[in-house]
Symmetry: C2
Subunit: 516 residues, 2 copies
Amino acid sequence: MAEAATRRRGRGGGGAARRAERTGVKIETAKFIERNMPLFEVLNEEALQIIETNADILLEEVGVNFVNNKVALDRWKDAGADVDYQAERVRIPKGLARELCKTAPSRITQHARNPERTVEIGGNTLVCAPVYGPPFVRDAEGGRRYATMADFEKFVKLGYMSKWLHHSGGTVCEPTDVPVNKRHLDMLLAHMTLSDKPFMGSVTEPSRAQDSVEMCEILFGKEFVQNNTVMTSLININSPMTFDDIMMGALEVYAKNNQACIVSPFIVGGAMAPVSVVGTLTQVLAEVMAGIAYSQLVRKGAPVIFGAFVTSIDMNSGAPTFGTPEASQILSGAGQLARRLGLPFRSGGGLCGSKMPDAQAAYETAHTHNAALTGGVNFMLHACGWLEGGLVSSFEKFVMDADQLGAMHKMAAGVPYDENAQAMDAVREVGPGGHYLGCAHTQANFKEAFWRSELLDYKPFETWSDEGGRDTQALASARVQTLMDAYEQPALDPEVEKALRAYVAEKKASMPDSFV
Amino acid sequence: MAEAATRRRGRGGGGAARRAERTGVKIETAKFIERNMPLFEVLNEEALQIIETNADILLEEVGVNFVNNKVALDRWKDAGADVDYQAERVRIPKGLARELCKTAPSRITQHARNPERTVEIGGNTLVCAPVYGPPFVRDAEGGRRYATMADFEKFVKLGYMSKWLHHSGGTVCEPTDVPVNKRHLDMLLAHMTLSDKPFMGSVTEPSRAQDSVEMCEILFGKEFVQNNTVMTSLININSPMTFDDIMMGALEVYAKNNQACIVSPFIVGGAMAPVSVVGTLTQVLAEVMAGIAYSQLVRKGAPVIFGAFVTSIDMNSGAPTFGTPEASQILSGAGQLARRLGLPFRSGGGLCGSKMPDAQAAYETAHTHNAALTGGVNFMLHACGWLEGGLVSSFEKFVMDADQLGAMHKMAAGVPYDENAQAMDAVREVGPGGHYLGCAHTQANFKEAFWRSELLDYKPFETWSDEGGRDTQALASARVQTLMDAYEQPALDPEVEKALRAYVAEKKASMPDSFV
């Protein structure tokens, strides 16, 4: 990692990055995860082949819609698809989508302005990014309320301070006090100035994707951006089988500028896909292949990620449910399908349906975390902070989940079995009936031996009780405050910051406010 | 299952069982889990072989202690071990322990008095039993307090009412208001009369194991007990490498009576075993092989289970920690070692260190549950109700965890991929831009499609808020009450119940109370 970063700097990329490194405050961030562990794969070869065959059949017989997007239809026609312009329907001959996907890279380097925070997405890696999208925030003190730009900035700061979080994310909450057509500017500025971790670009209009690229050109240098991926952005598919012009327009901007997109069905099973795991996976595969194939028609070699945001539904209430067995099975199966396509894989992280950071939230989050870790996810969006089915970004849950990511790092590191790990001398030294607390092997290894939470309670009952008998949410409130008190803005070249602020001011002045 | 039960009845076993089935109130209990899913195996072949070789070396060079137990030392000497009577040390030549383990069965049928509740332990099965051992109980209303016999009975009733729990367990809490030397009688009586699920016997004195056998002879019939396993009891090893006379005495009673024992190291890593995963696994394997080999010296073919209760330690405070990555790795590795020995495998279930059923409890529990499910556990003790590192049995956590076991059933069932599961007609019917809520496939499948919690909150925010904004603990308190209100005692032949009560009364009258 360090060596790679040096080489990149040697090539002259990222002036801001160079300067940041010279002057930056040292906040420890773990390197992205490289798994040294087996994966859990829920589908057998027969099931995988059935899904792949059926996905091809769906693409050929049913097809997908590219809505309000004649350019896309033309591209598909040129590529050999059967295009119905009237119905905006693209039917893709068997094998074509898969063939087109082959030019997408299997691994993406997403650069951060601080080269130490640059991440690799693909293969055995796992990059964790925070919650994305909620219009509300919640904390123990203030309850649930509409999110503001101040909340957004607080989340970016918490993300910067979270050791086990590799990525600053994108819309960590919707700053509803900023006009819809301008908030992307403030959000990007926050990620660029308040953190030095990698981040995501805007996708709500193609023009906002273009603004994102231009701000990155200020931050990283124009040439660097054209030659390197500095953003990973979230392109949702309107499942079932529909690609709208806004998302495809944003994808086009990013693909043309060599920036990464996650092409991701957004599915509540039973509503946007069949009520079966294999049926849903078939649709997911067809949709992702169509979307990624299209990205390669826009620009061969454009970096893309196989996304899958799929959850189950409570058929009694119609509410989406999270952390369920079916969601885990779909996640695992989607990972297998992505790897067979040779593509990086994204899925959700700490998903839950609970209204507050209670036991339900933690059960559901842990199941999703575990499924993502063992299912081979390369880019875990919503790794921390997600609450209430994605309606709420929670400050307490942010630090709770971010702490859990530390356990994930340790689990992913696998089990060493060298001579020190075998510890035969320790057993010989201690022998039957003894204890290991003071033995030489323990003394030499105890600091690194066991993962230790920086949040959870390990105190004796009496101490815990004397301190108020706090639950996890209360401990998390305190940790949020501790991290915020310790926050210091990472150094950034004042000229770069000035140019970014000028760009934002100018853009904002160029259009009237819009709140729709 | 049903067929097997019929055959057993046809052979004349379990008179009480026959009668219970005729008259019993119908409380639904899921069949024990049969996994139709791959396992997660953390160790590679090389690591496994190193551990096995090292365990053999430890047994031969270091050996194990059988304390205050000349009979055991004699048995080992006769079997070919090197016995130091002075030091009470048994050194077991390479390969001998493994060879002796071969006569232990790979699968155990533990009969319940209601044949529908009989469980299979081994191979692809997973049997869930509740928390075992805490001296305290906790609920939201009364807080933490010493457990009483009334608490014990309430837990047995909750276990009986819990659909996804297969086993009534053993010491679901310590009834501290009953003398130590008599409480096993009341505990067994409660399991036998208040539930019809399988249960565990007493191990705190060999005489109490004998009482357990005799009470089972009243419940099941003497001949049935001698020919069938009706109890699975927990024999802990005093790690490191020490077997005390009380536990070995209890094991002897059970083995001679064809009753199953879990032979289980009780290890807090760093204290009772080395601070490394592989070092700990080596010691676990050596200890379990020695214990199970010994069970086969007592009675060839005695049913036994490879146990592993291993957790990590917080090296700052010395507190045991649960649901940690190292604990999951050890669980996974121990399962691999057990399967290589061809033995059923037991490990912990819903372990956590938290003082209350909050998010910490749920994170840690979910990690342990997941590790046990994917790690191939056949007998999951502490599957529900465990709190505060095993010091507390929690009523709320009991129903919270028991609900989670339903998700485990669904996960274990695997992913069907037959024509119905492929759902191609559904996608064809709905097509791009449609929705699946009303389609024929959804209508036909929605009831079974997704696991649904009977406890967690899936309501809209406004409804949830209007109802008091309850957290999971509050929902669980309500569910405890609902289950208790619905509880009806399963039918039992009045003659059998009378005989059991007479046995208990007579035993109690035969000795003075002891509270130590």
